[in-house]
Symmetry: C2
């Protein structure tokens, strides 16, 4: 086992330095790499395959609720970006400007989209005439650019991949319903595909999207107790439709401005998967999103019949599962075990000469290290069951972390203490005053996460100002 332990040492201990452990996993598991374009990463095939699985799952769910995809230009003229006041204030400081094209200085500079509300609103204004043209339920999968000062792979990168959905509606009610429906789709993706429980709620005014009427969020908790905002869905009311002139003739024949939403999830979800599930051996992937669900590692593969039987098993399993046969002859079995554990493959299938004699294989679980012996004739079915068990078990493990790290506080000091001791979600009441919200952040370093949909009455007063409070809010330091 000496070799094994040595190998694992290459990854920083998770308890010693979580941040360093994280980047070690990103690099060693071949998820991404740094590039010569400052602040931008290259997403390597193994990391991109995770994104493809997220994309395929989410896109299917989007289409089930009527969303269609389109593609809008990458470049936005400066005058267009400036039409909605709060929006431009929020984004202008962190955009990249194209000033030269085809060898000539441009008359009007163009920004690389930091998000596409402005250009999409401009197009929607052209496309809508009557209520019969509504709703428009559009989405695009693309990259966006925000000139971040400090970056970390997947979590905060100057360029990142995402989807941005943009819908317009006849009524405020319909648009608000859509905002919440898309939040439910995100919760589905994050809980059922990524096996991470979410906290659903509404953002405070301070934390909402630049230009939104209200922002809803699905929050997640990482292994170190820090929160990560995993997806947001915004209701704009008529904030964009008025400056962008998206008007329609309503059912009464009168001109009216549309009601609008937007919503997005990004490649930071890959970061969430790493930090919600990983351990000292490296990455730990939920079976549903894993690019490789099971890896077959032949034992003593030089012996007669071992590679043949391994190949046979591979051929049998590959139509039902994403499976790989590791028949590399230049690595030891121990190295292979470590390598695939580090890459987070949910199940390892071991098959050696003795197993073949007995007509069995060994299944080793990545999530809890347990092993079981399975008759080869049952392997196909048992693997499916096991992958489901692992998926469920990983979700439960995250729920446990969340429960253990969720606390209640009644004073500002308690919020700070709880965060210092435990990080996590701290639930308190809140008067609704931004001054109190600012104070909590200033003292504890934790912004508000959201006002959860599932409200509880913890106390009668705000822990900061002592005034009457009827809302429960959750605080937490964040990625």
């Amino acid at each position: 086992m000496g070799k094994k332990e040595e190998f694992v040492k290459e990854i920083t201990n998770i308890e010693d330095d979580f941040a360093k452990w994280y980047t070690d996993v990103v690099i060693k598991a071949d998820l991404a790499d740094y590039t010569e374009t400052k602040g931008c990463i290259a997403i390597k095939p193994y990391g991109y395959a995770i994104w493809e699985n997220i994309k395929d799952y989410a896109d299917k769910k989007f289409k089930e609720v009527g969303i269609t995809n389109f593609y809008m230009p990458l470049l936005i003229p400066e005058s267009m970006l400036e039409k909605e006041k709060e929006h431009v204030e929020g984004f202008a400081p962190e955009v990249a400007w194209v000033t030269i094209g085809g060898g000539e200085e441009l008359e009007e500079r163009l920004c690389i989209r930091p998000t596409s509300e402005t250009i999409i609103s401009t197009m929607y204004a052209k496309w809508v005439k009557s209520w019969r043209d509504l709703p428009i339920l559009g989405n695009q999968w693309c990259s966006v650019l925000r000139w971040e000062k400090e970056t970390r792979p997947f979590l905060r990168s100057r360029e990142f991949l995402w989807q941005e959905g943009h819908t317009i509606h006849e009524t405020a009610k319909e648009a608000e319903d859509r905002t919440l429906l898309m939040l439910d789709v995100y919760a589905d993706v994050i809980e059922n595909l990524l096996a991470i429980p979410v906290l659903k709620g509404k953002k405070t005014k301070k934390e909402q999207f630049a230009g939104a009427d209200s922002t809803y969020t699905v929050e997640t908790l990482m292994k170190d107790g820090r929160a990560l905002q995993a997806g947001t869905s915004h209701y704009f009311g008529q904030n964009f439709s008025k400056p962008f002139n998206i008007k329609f003739q309503n059912r009464e024949g009168k001109e009216e401005y549309v009601y609008q939403t937007s919503w997005g999830i990004t490649t930071r979800l890959i970061g969430a998967v790493i930090m919600a599930h990983g351990d000292n051996r490296g990455l730990k992937l939920p079976p549903k999103v894993a690019p490789i669900q099971a890896v077959i590692v032949p034992i003593a593969q030089h012996k007669e019949g071992v590679l043949e039987k391994s190949n046979e098993i591979f051929e049998e399993l590959k139509s039902n599962y994403r499976v790989k046969l590791d028949d590399r002859d230049n690595y030891s079995t121990g190295f292979k075990f470590n390598d695939w554990e580090m890459r987070g493959v949910p199940v390892r299938i071991e098959i050696g000469p003795k197993d073949i004699e007995k007509g069995v294989a060994i299944l080793a679980r990545r999530d809890n290290g347990e092993k079981e012996t399975v008759e080869l004739k049952n392997l196909n079915i048992r693997l499916g069951e096991l992958l489901n068990e692992i998926q469920e078990n990983m979700f439960k493990a995250c729920e446990k972390v969340r429960d253990e790290r969720t606390t209640v506080a009644y004073t500002l000091d308690e919020i700070a203490e709880n965060l210092e001791k435990n990080q996590g979600y701290v639930k308190t009441m809140w008067c609704g005053d931004q001054a109190c919200e600012d104070k909590v952040k200033e003292v504890t370093g934790a912004p508000s996460r959201c006002m959860p949909f599932k409200q509880e009455h913890l106390a009668d007063v705000c822990p900061v100002c002592g005034k009457k409070a009827t809302k429960m809010i959750v605080w937490g330091r964040q990625y």
Copy 2:
């Protein structure tokens, strides 16, 4: 029929002005729209759904031949772009430069990728150490930007969507084989999905990609007889691996530079579909790539039972086909017929009170206008057969156009005459001298398309210089 003819008039007659017909179809069929970002289009949901079908088909084929996807940064530092001399000369004049980011002038300007050989070569150089790391078979689906002066939707746009595959190999032979293998995949996509026959061949030095050793192409012919380069696959030899230092230790333990390829198809394939198949009624989509394969149009839908039966049919067909029910109550049946014909839907299913009484429906083909009556109990199976027949028939129709427009010429005058009369492909011999190639283009306006893999010996001499010629070449004016 008055209403119908009036409707079709909105599209310019294809014989009167092919170019105007083309943009009419793009706009009226809701494939794309102009934007306020000069030279860039918005791809609308109906157009994007065509691209999604192309992407899904091609991506599956890529994966079958071992390709994996990744994602590389959008922005390339100027010094990186300049490393390969021919490449930078080819692309630098048409790039867009980011000079300001996060409110500050950048120390080094960054170009928006016009293609990614440079940044991908830089990463490959980091990733490869030994022959055991080879081949790397990477690809990305993304957008690129080239500052074109004259633009046309899908055909030539400043920003367009594409995939760019980049592979590196141990040997020249393996890389050359991969170049040709990917060309075969493109031929598969274009012939089997898009129902357009291709002419496969090698580009001349003059027409090849900036920095390539050799460029292979799949050429297609549009209805007006102009050629369209539908996909290209490039063999680089060590042209990039030397300046970018992509070295590996070979099987003999010696350091060597890798052998490299790249290959791409773009959203201009949507333009090819429009121009290869369309007619005076508008778009005509091959069933395999059509976002809607069959549209159900109820006749007299206000009558009892018609909408119920239409819905029943829709429910039955939708698990096997991409089908739509048009139950809009504010349009006449005639308008709906025209509308879906204009959008190129391959089959219309008509169902009215009399049909229901007889237990039948009418199937109307978009490709040739033929109608047939089908018993409802056979509808599911018959629709599948019919879609296959249409796919095949559309391919044959394109073959016929290609055959009729392919001519042979023995003198420079004949090349010019043939093109003037017939456009199309003009086959001649060629001595291999670029001066003769330049002359043909100067006199006829037609660049060389390729030296086809299927060679014929048409004559002994070059039609331009009269010197000995052993190669057959094809000329054609292009999009």
